[in-house]
């Protein structure tokens, strides 16, 4: 659906995007994740045809973004960061204007605007001036703008930035709903957001792709050390740490201070071999301690992100 090859953008001598290769297939929700200034917005702006790449090619549905700019733009719905709409227009007039520019006929236009009002929850604010709206409402108008012609590809730049938690959940639900049929690319620097909304995550740092894959594969693929949480009743730290420390694969055992004095909580750092939880269980079973918790903590996305994008 979207095929990007060696995409590069220079602002003067500053290289914002450096030889990015990316393929996005139909019906995928892809999250572009990266610290501020990593080149996310620049990449999205090039995908929408707003900025011209310094070099590299973008093909969308096998159409070149240079030669068939109009056809490509018709396929894409784009919501720039913080939804810069015309402040002096009424919401209805604005959507009507967008529909008009997209060449929709008047009956279809009215129908579509009503559909979008329901989908994005705009029915009550159609008669308000865009400038009066709160940030969350503006964002929803922006979403309606992007979805006007039912585009096959939806590109959203930080769709939830600056929203309150309720609005974030609402917007995320809308994105999920759209993402069932459409190709969605969104950028964010909030990890939980990418984790919650996306099928696939592309981590960008300093204009390059640092990692690319599904949330699961990113977590597993990174390997290395992982952590197991264990809570015991009726156990003594000295004894327990000696017993568990002896298990093959455990590198370190640490006590977690908890509010409950009867409960001994341990954090176990393990080097790698799997089936470790079975061995710990067997070890505890041999004693008369009572096990109340045994969980393995996957390497969090946050940790992966920090490892990949840390300043060296």
């Amino acid at each position: 659906m979207i095929h990007v090859e060696k995409l590069t953008k220079f602002y003067g001598s500053f290289c914002a995007v450096d030889q990015i290769d990316l393929d996005v297939s139909r019906g995928e929700i892809t999250g572009l994740l990266g610290p501020n200034g990593a080149g996310k917005t620049t990449t999205l702006r090039m995908l929408t045809g707003y900025l011209a790449p310094t070099s590299g090619t973008i093909r969308i549905n096998d159409l070149s973004i240079d030669d068939d700019a109009l056809a490509v733009k018709k396929l894409i719905g784009y919501l720039p960061e913080s939804a810069p709409l015309y402040h002096n227009m009424l919401v209805y007039d604005y959507l009507d204007y967008v529909a008009g520019i997209r060449g929709m006929q008047s009956r279809r236009k009215a129908e579509r605007i009503h559909e979008l009002a329901d989908l994005c929850g705009l029915s009550g604010i159609m008669h308000k001036t865009v400038g009066e709206l709160s940030k969350g409402l503006k964002q929803r108008v922006g979403l309606a703008h992007a979805m006007m012609e039912d585009p096959q590809i939806l590109i959203l730049d930080e769709p939830t930035s600056g929203l309150d938690p309720n609005q974030i959940v609402e917007i995320r639900d809308i994105i999920r709903r759209i993402g069932r049929e459409k190709t969605v690319i969104l950028s964010t620097h909030i990890l939980s957001e990418a984790e919650a909304a996306c099928d696939r995550i592309v981590i960008i740092d300093k204009g390059r792709i640092a990692a690319d894959g599904s949330t699961e594969s990113l977590k597993q693929g990174s390997g290395g050390e992982h952590t197991i949480h264990l809570s015991l009743l009726g156990a003594d730290f000295e004894e327990a740490s000696r017993a568990i420390g002896a298990i093959d694969g455990v590198s370190r055992v640490e006590r977690v201070e908890g509010a409950n004095v009867d409960e001994l909580r341990l954090r176990i750092f393990a080097g790698g071999p799997d089936r470790l939880r079975e061995k710990i269980y067997a070890c505890v079973k041999a004693t008369d301690w009572i096990m109340v918790e045994l969980t393995q903590e996957g390497k969090s996305l946050e940790k992966i992100f920090r490892d990949l994008t840390r300043e060296v």
């Binding site: 707003y50 784009y78 810069p84 520019i101």
Partner: protein, 234 residues
């Protein structure tokens, strides 16, 4: 074509839903009306010549004030990004915005028709030069709007756009007036590129294709310039 028209209609409507249009029209009518009628009865001639002599100067600062927001405001607020990622061509945007500015300039002239009508009651008005004058005024307004669109495309600051536009328009207006300061060899060139000179010809009632062509050339050159500037921003 539809897209150009939609952009044109939106921009023109924007003028009238905010107070800008009314303020600018008032200022325009006050200045032209006062300068025209303060000497009208002294000359005691039934024509609009003073009005049309004055018009290029007044247009030089009124039209850049009208057109300064066309690109600068959108660049400043970022809405330009939303506009340009819709299925439009850059030329649709430039032409649509220009037409809105030019249409506004023409609409501004409509109330001044009352000068002509009232003069025709008190004297024997020759309608030929009046018709020529208005045709010239529409062309001049369009040409200066193109200059204004160009100035507005250069910056995201409306004040800078206004001043840039005003400087270019004033230069075009005054080139033939200050021609005596230039060496004889280039006086001809300066006269030819002066909007004031071509406007004067038309407003005398002489319709020469060279003068009409001049205004269309100015429109084309500045719109093309604006197109290049916006293209370069990508």
């Amino acid at each position: 074509m539809t897209r150009t028209f939609k952009i044109f209609a939106k921009e023109l409507r924007d003028y009238f839903v905010s107070p800008i249009a009314y303020i600018v029209i008032c200022i325009f009518l006050l200045i032209t009306g006062w300068f025209f009628f303060s000497t009208f009865f002294i000359y005691n001639q039934a024509n609009l010549r003073t009005f049309f002599t004055l018009l290029p100067v007044v247009f030089s600062f009124v039209i850049p004030a009208v057109t300064m927001r066309l690109f600068a405001e959108e660049l400043h607020s970022g809405s330009y990004e939303m506009l340009l990622t819709l299925p439009v061509k850059l030329s649709d945007v430039v032409v649509g915005k220009f037409l809105a500015g030019a249409a506004f300039a023409s609409l501004m002239l409509v109330p001044t028709l009352s000068y002509a009508v009232s003069i025709s009651f008190i004297g024997d008005l020759d309608w030929g030069p009046v018709a020529g004058g208005y045709l010239g005024a529409v062309l001049l307004g369009a040409a200066y709007s193109a200059v204004g669109v160009f100035a507005s495309s250069l910056t995201r600051n409306q004040i800078v756009a206004f001043i840039t536009g005003m400087v270019i328009c004033f230069s075009l207006t005054l080139f033939d007036k200050i021609a005596i300061f230039f060496p004889a060899a280039i006086v001809g060139v300066f006269t030819q590129i002066a909007a004031g000179y071509h406007f004067e010809n038309i407003s005398k009632g002489i319709l020469d294709t060279r003068d009409v062509l001049y205004f269309f050339s100015v429109i084309f050159v500045f719109l093309y310039g604006a197109h290049l500037v916006m293209q370069e921003k990508r």
